[in-house]
Amino acid sequence: MNVFGHVISWPQLYGQLLIGLINGSFYALLSLGLAVIFGMLTIVNFAHGAFYMMGAFGAYFLLKLAGLDYWWALILSPFAIGAIGAIVERLFLKRLVGLDPLYSLLLTFGLALIFQGLFQNFFGASGLPYAIPKQLSGAYNLGFMFLPVYRGWVIVASMVVSFGTWLVIEKTKLGAYLRAATENPTMVRAFGINVPRMVTLTYGFGVALAAFAGVLAAPINQVRPGMGADIIAVVFAVVVIGGMGSIMGSILTGFVLGVVEGLTKVFYPEASNTVVFVIMAIVLLIRPAGLFGRAS
């Protein structure tokens, strides 16, 4: 195949598609967490990238310090980082309720600097290795390409968690509380529900999603203090493209943009880092509220 003067082989195309789906898995989990938090707290969590990074470090610590393997990390690290998130909400974000949301944005921005700075201090800028769990090593032969098992697992795990979250929010009683409190928190409180506690837990859950993505990323990208800062701007672009209003929108946009990015790497590699931002500019021109967002 010859496109734009690049000679492209099929295996290369499949390979990039796969990488695109993997990146999309992370975009989806991260933008989903941002959307969940935004829905309840109407704040943009700039510390999201830092929590993602901390999730990966959580896995690393669990292994090095407690000897707990990947499967424990997959549960414990999001739980621990989510708890840190809940504490952050209680200690800091709660005090900013009623002020311009830009202040909470700046607060989370400051927190991101603190977390990232601390980790860079102790671990430098380079990456720490984290091995693929042995149950997920190796590769499947799909006939047209080899699929590393771990990569397939990341895609499946991300889809299951993303769609599971969507199901809980759209189809359960708990989700109904969340949606109702997003619309009118005072009224939900007037029904006897402790909305402030729900807000804290929601923030913790959004953060836990980021940490979960971080654990998934650890064996692929190494564990690096800067890993969150590198991905967060793209995730913001994903959120802007998808629109802040929709949970499903953030999931779908995440996966699709990952794939688009992967394809760009095949057909026009020079633009692969910027294609998401270009799409964002185009979407903003046509639909300022994003693809799935409600116009305000």
Binding site: K173, A176, Y177, A180, T186, R189, A190, F191
Partner: protein, 243 residues
């Protein structure tokens, strides 16, 4: 004091003493005294801006700052948070109805958690009271007509076991035939033993169901009387309410 006129009778469920309330910097309630007794239907009358809605919201805990005393079954509410107050059995059906548009009718109806084991209405009983709701269970909350929204807003707080209901202008903006239906429903609720504090502009509607009236003006109670005294109060009401 108005309460002297009704000294003997069942115990007060709710008692306000010198209730003051503020929204941001503006002082809305300047010392409200009123009481609602077990099984009674009390109506708050008054012009727009007299403080009726603020009184209900203060009881629920939804105003920025309050002082004075609000006792509910002899328990002081003034320092409790909204959700704690709700869990004691106080339920509010707000003026704007507050149906959640992103939830289905069914989700709206079953959203408020049960706060008491006894006294809650069963879903079947609710559907007998509001037959329209059963047909619309799967519709989106935002798709209901005004009358349907009002019925859902009332139905929603009957399921929880709360026995003290505050209804804020349930007839506002509704067609006469719907108003009649709401009136019948409220009368039915009173028969079932609910204690109700109703805010109304439409005192002709209130006259058909209320036991007693409190009239508000400028953040205070300016008069209180029983339904039987209503005919003698008409001139005063016309003046106070501007109707």
């Amino acid at each position: 004091m108005p309460e002297a006129a009704f000294a003997q009778t069942p115990a007060a469920v709710l008692k306000l003493k010198g209730l003051q309330a503020w929204y941001n910097e503006s002082h809305i309630l300047h010392g409200v005294d009123l009481d609602v007794r077990e099984g009674e239907l009390v109506t708050l009358l008054g012009r727009n801006g007299a403080g009726k809605t603020t009184t209900l919201k203060s009881i629920m805990g939804i105003v920025g700052k309050r002082s004075g005393s609000i006792t509910f079954h002899d328990r002081e509410l003034i320092h409790l948070s909204i959700d704690r107050i709700a869990r004691l059995g106080v339920a509010l059906c707000p003026e704007e109805r507050a149906i959640f548009a992103s939830l289905s009718v069914k989700e709206n109806l079953f959203l408020p958690p049960e706060i008491a084991k006894t006294g809650a209405m069963t879903a079947d009983r609710i559907f007998t009271l509001f037959p329209n709701l059963r047909e619309r269970l799967s519709s989106g909350g935002g798709k209901l007509s005004g009358g349907e929204q009002q019925m859902l807003a009332i139905a929603r707080i009957l399921r929880t076991g709360a026995r003290f209901l505050m209804l804020d202008e349930p007839t506002e903006g509704l067609a006469p035939v719907i108003i009649q239906q709401i009136g019948r429903t409220i009368a039915e609720l009173k028969r079932e033993g609910f204690t109700i504090l109703l805010v109304e502009q439409n005192f002709r509607f209130a006259a058909t169901i209320a036991d007693r009236f409190f009239v508000m003006g400028h953040g205070r109670i300016i008069d209180a009387f029983a339904n039987s005294e209503l005919p003698g109060k008409m001139d005063m009401l016309h003046e106070a309410l501007g109707v």
